[in-house]
Structures are given as C-alpha cells and as structure tokens.
C-alpha cells in the first residue's frame, strides 16, 4: 500500500496525462494530427510563459499576482508605440521588456525593502497596472486606423515582422510562439536545476534565514525573482499582441489564474512538491490538451473553467493530500 501511494504520488499525474492523450486519440483520431498538436501548443504558450515566470516567485516562497496585467499592459504599450506613435516595432519590443523589468523591480523593492507581504504588494501592483494600461488610449482598444483624441486617424500600423512573432510558423508548421516558449522553458529548467542561482532560489524558499547566515545576499535574489517574473510576463505580452494584432483592453483577463493554476499543478508532476519549470510546462500542456480534447468531443465552452478547477484540486490532492501526515 505504501509503495503504491509513493508510486501514485510520483507518476500518477503523468499516467493520467498519458491516459487521456491516448483516450482522446482513440475517440477522435484527428486529435493526434500534427496540426492539432501544434494548435494545442499554440493555445497554451502565453499562459505557459506566464506560468514559467510565476514559478520563480513561487520558488522563493513568494507570489506575483501582477503577471497577467503585466502581459496586458505590454500588449497595450506595444500597440500604442506602433499604431499611435508610428514608431519602429523594435521600440515596441524594447519598451515592453523595459516595462516588464521595471514592474518586477518595483514589486521586488516593495516586498524586500518596504516589507509589504508579497500577495498584497503584487495585488496593489496588479490594480495599478490594470488602470495604467487604459490611460494612454483613453480606455479604448488600439487598432490600425483608430480615431485619436484630436479627431485624426492613427497613422501607424502593426509591423509585419512584429506580427510574425505571433502568427508566423517555422517550416510552415511550428508556430513561432511555441518555439519561444520551448526555448524559454529549456533555459529556465536548466537555470533552476543545474546552476547555483537555481539552488539558492530554492534554498531561500526553504529557509530564508539559513541562506542569509550562509553569506548569501538574499534580498538581491528575491528582487531578481520578481524582475524575472516581470520580464517573462512582458515577453508573453509581446507575443500576445503579435498574435491578436491589436491592443485589446480585455486581453489580460484570465491569464493570471490560468498561469498560477498551471504552476500549482506542476507541484504534482513527479511528486516534487515544489514549484518547478518542468511541472509548470506539463501542467499547462495538460490543461490545454484536456480542453482541446473535450472540445473536440463537443464539450460546451462554458464548462472549461470548471474542468480546470477539477484538475487543479485533483493535482493538489496528489501533492499534499497523499503524502504522510505528521503528528
């Protein structure tokens, strides 16, 4: 029995995942087609990248609630730069990333220096950004040829090169965002598993004081975790803007919760019980696959959040519930 539970904790999640992959394919053979595979992957990249970002803050026993709104404001800022200001797309990318870094830095300073609890600091930041993104365009979405405040028409447009980031495909098959996602995932996995920075981030999450007494500048690492979270969120925002090709004021909705859910599901993968890059990626792919398969089997769209919730709760039971309780 004990062995079975240990096995279930370690591989249960992956077995369920493999089982549903086979099950969907048997019921609906087109599920297994390459084009469907990539459509699943494309569908999850934005949330997946955000999940990788929030993983860093979860590792240091923190939280970043502002990831979704950071992505959203980057959608707005890159649209504004190209459409309203009629500037080169490189500025759109650079400004977005700069904004992501700044938001992360402010979050980090609020938490580490001003000692505001992480949830509250990033909740405040989330509100601030959600409001801020509406201001340049006076609350309106930004699209090519939109009417400006002075009555004239916006002259700029989304650059083709920029749109390629969200809509292009390599070899006419692999979507560019998927490639970005995979590269990011591999780099982050490597950093967390094989470098001293990853080791120290995890150690801080385990016992901050002990790490401090080992001579590590803990504050620097914690701020870095939030800066990385903000930066990665801005990359997600850029890809999102490139994919939808307009500055949609509602584009950030739902991103935060989906990303956090994926990262939490990731705790259950291989029974590591900690935030981890592989887990976050697997978590987000699992949700994407499940929704794709169920939709093919004509599941109504309005049940999607319910399904995600079930998966999350089940994963949390895998992670925390099955492990031995201590007296």
């Amino acid at each position: 029995m004990e062995k079975f539970v240990a096995f279930a904790i370690k591989y249960g999640f992956l077995i369920v995942m493999a089982g549903s992959f086979i099950g969907f394919g048997l019921m609906e053979p087109s599920f297994w087609s390459w084009s469907n595979m990539f459509s699943i992957l494309l569908g999850i990249t934005i949330v997946g990248i955000l999940a990788l970002g929030v993983t860093f803050t979860l590792i240091v026993d923190g939280f970043d609630l502002s990831i979704g709104s950071t992505a959203a404001i980057c959608v707005m800022i890159s649209s504004y730069v190209m459409v309203v200001l009629n500037m080169n797309y490189m500025y759109a990318i650079l400004l977005s990333i700069l904004l992501g870094v700044t938001i992360g830095l402010v979050n980090g300073l609020l938490i580490v220096k001003a000692k505001i609890p992480d949830l509250l600091a990033t909740l405040g930041m989330m509100f601030l950004i959600q409001g801020l993104q509406l201001i340049p365009s006076a609350g309106m979405s930004i699209g090519t040829g939109m009417m400006l405040a002075d009555g004239s028409e916006a002259e700029g447009e989304f650059a083709q090169q920029f749109l390629f980031l969200g809509q292009g495909r390599l070899f006419n098959l692999i979507p560019i965002p998927v490639i970005v996602f995979v590269i990011l995932a591999i780099v982050i996995y490597f950093v967390l598993q094989y470098t001293k920075w990853g080791r120290i981030l995890y150690a801080i999450g385990g016992n901050e004081k002990a790490v401090k007494l080992a001579g590590v500048n803990v504050e620097k690492y914690k701020i870095a975790a939030y800066v990385l979270s903000g930066t990665i969120s801005s990359i997600a925002g850029i890809l999102l803007a490139a994919r939808i090709g307009r500055g949609d004021v509602t584009s950030g909705g739902g991103l935060l919760l989906d990303a956090v859910a994926a990262a939490l599901i990731g705790y259950a993968v291989l029974g590591v019980k900690k935030p981890n890059a592989l887990g976050s990626v697997v978590g987000v792919i699992f949700i994407g696959m499940l929704l794709n398969g169920l939709t093919m089997l004509s599941l109504p769209y309005y049940t999607q959040d319910f399904i995600k919730g079930i998966v999350l709760v089940a994963a949390l039971i895998f992670t925390f519930g099955l492990s031995k309780s201590e007296i």
Partner: protein
C-alpha cells in the same frame, strides 16, 4: 521504595514503522510519588515510547496496565482519560495565543465537548484561580494576555492545567530546553513538591546533569530495546555508558602549546553592541576555545559581530595579524570566519533538501563554473564529510528530515568545516544533540583543528570542559576569566558565570 505500588505498567511494548522496528519489548513500571527519567540517544526509540504512552500510536504491541487494568490506547484522548498528562517540549504548542492567562488555565472549560455554550467569564476566572493555586500561580494577572508573561510562567500554566485533571502520570518532555537555569531550578522545586504529594512523574531530558539530580530511577532505552534501570546514587558516566555503551573514554587530547602556533584572530578593544567594555582576545591556531556565560552575557552579540552580522561599535578585529574590516557575512566568510549558528531548525537547516545541498550551501561559488554547478565535486565533498563525521544516513541524496537531530547537527557543522577556514565559531552546537553525536562532533573538531581554530560558545560548562583547551567566562559583556581547561576549577568558574 518497596512500599510504593506501581500505578502504570508498560509491558513488552513494541512498535514498527514499516519494516523497521523502532521499539522491541520495552518494559517499565511507574510508581506513585517518584520521578522516573527515561534516557536514550537520539533515535533510540525514546520518543516513540513516550508517544505510545500518550496514545499517538494506536498500533503498538504489548500491554499497558493502569492500576492493574489492561487499557488499549487508540488515541491521545484514551491516554488523557486514563490519567496520563503530557507537557510537551514546545511551550508554544501548549498554550493558545491571543487568549488570556485565565482562559489558558481553564482551557478545558472552553474547548471540551461538554463545555457550556455560553462564555461565562466569571466562572472561567474562578476555575482558573483554582487551577493556578496548584502551582502557586495566583499572583498572575488573570486578564493578562498570555504573550505578556515569561516562558517559564507559561510552562507553569501548562503544568498546572495538567495537574488539574489529577493525573496518574505526568510526562514532561524536555521541559528545560527553553527556560533559563534559574527558572529550571524553580521547576525542579515544584517537581519535588508534586512527587512528595504522590504524583508519578516521567521526565525526559537530554541534560544528563538534570536527570542525575532529580530522578529517583532512570530507565534506559538503547537501540529500541530495554537498556536497564539505574538507581540513586546516579553517575553521569554510568548513565552515558548505559545509553551508548563504552565510548572512547575521555579523550583529552594533548594540545601542544609550542608547536608552531600562529595568531589566528585577535580582538583589539572591540566593543560590541549592547556592551560598554572593550574586549581583548587572542585565539591561536590549533586551539579550541570555549566561551561561557549566561543568556544576556553578550556571547551572541560577540559571535554575531565576529561573523559580520552586526557592526562593532569600536575597536578592531585582526585575522592573521592583519586588520579585517568586513561589513557582512559574505566578507566574513572570505576572511575565513565560519559560524555554525545556534538553533539549527531556525537558522541552518534547509528543509526538503538533500544532505549534499545542505552541506555545500555557503560555497556554491566554489562548486560552480560560470554559475553551472559541478555536481560531481559536490557529491565527492559531501561523501567525504558524511564519512569523516560519521553522519548516519542513506546517502548524500537523502533528505535532511530523514536524519535524527544529532545527525542533522552534524550536517550543519559539516557545512562549515567543509572548506578551509581560519576559525569556526560554534554557537550552542550541542543543544538538543544526543551524547553520541556530541562526541562524534567533538572528536572531529579535535582531530581536524590544526592550522585553524575553534571558538565554541555555550552555556553548559560540562560541554566545554569536555572539548576545549581553554575556557573564557563572559559576564555582562566582560571577560572575567581565561584559563586552560586542564587547570579550571569548575566551582570557581560557575561562581564567575553567575556573579552579579
């Protein structure tokens, strides 16, 4: 002793965890009106035995007889109703924060299933005073918040509450671990009084001096088995021998003063925070120096200053005769100053990490190239430390939680002995560490301290007399004495430590 009758008999108690036998056939009797101590090295099965008596493990084998009647313990409630009361090691676990003194005393009236639905403050205070009287605690302000009284008062409240149920057996688990010596002395007075009133007390402690002082009988558990009974007059060496067998007897090493000793650390008129006395201390290579003093003597402040946690108010720290100005821990380590902090759970252990990751933590720069960890080197280094310090574990990858307390402490010490250093400071290194691990650590320090030095801070004089070459006494920020351990007069030292 013969006129007393056993109230509780534990007969052939065994307990398995999976395939491992934690206890096999352990039997002890508890008489009324006596203090019975249970001792055993960490991992010997002492706490398993206590937990069975408290009803935490329902699946034990063997029999527990209370007043001659067989009772099967399935849950802590069973033990409670059978008249067994436990005062746990952690005081914070025994009290309810944010409640008043009265509410904590009369807790049973508030939380028991038959408690009245209406909160009647008058009744609660009345009952609380009744309970308080058992421990002469009536002087406490019943309305005070529990957070505003001292640790030992909190503990007295917990004991008073336990006594209010008229227990047959009162179990005290490491009761002195978080109170001062003076408070402990008061606790012992109380225990004697209770004993003379006929209460049966089961006492569990790491401090063998206490065990020797207060116990009528001592029961030994060794490697999960019955290890014998010891009677007054007790000797510490006899208790140790029963616990762990014959250890390499008193390993007074020959510390050669002349052989090329080098000045490692010098403090010149160093004034640390909270003190107004300048300190002048010299520590040489090959030396193990003890620093002893009461809580508040300034030991911790000094240690923290030497490790870069606090800034000195004035004066100088010299390392190898060169002035060393360090602003933080990182730079102190760069100067070859390493420190094992007190209280490993709070200050040192990284939970849910492997032994290896816990050992190499401060020196990841050394174990990595361009940030990428060289795990092979890490593994080699941790294996070496595991072997040299005799860390009992399943391997370098085992989680730190899988080790006993003593072995966890070895890991924490190994962390700072791993790399070359000038001096390693150990702050209360033997708190909550069993005697076997204590000896292992001491022996390792004595064998390896040649080119470097050790400064060991403790409030336990016997610990220091065992290991050190020289002992300094600190009292209210001043060094009152500094002499070779071999020439130390224990009683004189004690009076220096406590003198006002």
């Amino acid at each position: 002793m013969t006129d007393k009758r056993p109230i509780i008999k534990a007969i052939n108690i065994s307990k398995k965890f999976g395939a491992t036998k934690a206890l096999s056939d352990v039997s002890f009797d508890f008489y009324e009106g006596e203090i019975f101590s249970i001792v055993g090295a960490n991992g010997a099965g002492k706490s398993t035995f206590i937990k069975i008596l408290c009803g935490y493990y329902g699946d034990y084998e063997g029999e527990i007889l209370i007043d001659g009647k067989l009772i099967k313990f399935e849950s802590p409630r069973d033990a409670y109703e059978a008249g067994i009361q436990v005062v746990h090691q952690s005081i914070e676990q025994g009290i309810v924060q944010n409640m008043s003194v009265a509410e904590n005393l009369a807790l049973e009236m508030i939380i028991s299933p038959d408690a009245s639905f209406v909160y009647d403050k008058k009744k609660i205070v009345k009952r609380a005073i009744e309970i308080a009287k058992k421990m002469d605690l009536e002087y406490l302000d019943m309305d005070k918040n529990i957070q505003d009284i001292t640790q030992s008062e909190k503990q007295m409240i917990i004991i008073a509450r336990a006594l209010a149920t008229k227990p047959k057996l009162l179990i005290l688990d490491e009761p002195t671990s978080s109170i001062s010596d003076r408070e402990a002395a008061k606790l012992f007075e109380t225990l004697y009084k209770l004993r003379d009133e006929g209460v049966s007390i089961l006492y569990v402690s790491h401090y063998l001096a206490e065990v020797k002082k207060i116990s009528n009988r001592v029961g030994v558990i060794r490697d999960g088995k019955y290890g014998g009974l010891l009677y007054q007059p007790l000797e510490i060496s006899q208790i140790v021998k029963a616990m762990v067998g014959d250890l390499e007897s008193a390993f007074k090493r020959s510390y050669d003063e002349k052989s090329g000793k080098k000045l490692i650390m010098e403090l010149r008129d160093l004034v640390v925070e909270g003190s107004k006395y300048p300190l002048n201390i010299k520590i040489y290579s090959g030396e193990i120096v003890g620093l002893i003093g009461l809580i508040g003597a300034g030991k911790t402040e000094l240690a923290e200053t030497l490790f870069g946690i606090r800034k000195p108010i004035s004066g100088e720290i010299l390392i190898e005769e060169k002035s060393a100005n360090f602003k933080d821990i990182h730079q102190a380590i760069k100067h070859g100053i390493h420190m094992v902090p007190e209280n490993r759970a709070v200050n040192a252990i990284i939970p849910e990490e492997s032994i290896k990751n816990n050992i190499t933590l401060p020196f990841l720069d050394f174990f990595s190239k361009f940030g990428v960890l060289a795990k092979k080197n890490e593994i080699k280094a941790s294996k070496r430390m595991i072997k040299d310090m005799g860390i009992k574990c399943e391997g370098f990858d085992a989680l730190i939680e899988s080790l006993s307390g003593g072995n966890q402490q070895k890991v924490v010490v190994a962390r700072w002995l791993l790399m070359k250093h000038n001096i390693v400071i150990l702050d209360e290194p033997f708190q909550g560490v069993d005697i076997k691990s204590r000896r292992d650590i001491s022996k390792y320090l004595q064998d390896t301290t040649k080119k470097s030095a050790v400064l060991m801070i403790s409030s336990d004089i016997d610990e220091l007399m065992d290991v050190t070459d020289r002992i300094m006494v600190m009292n209210r920020g001043r060094i009152l004495s500094n002499e070779k351990t071999s020439e130390v007069d224990r009683d004189r030292l004690l009076s220096l430590i406590t003198q006002e």
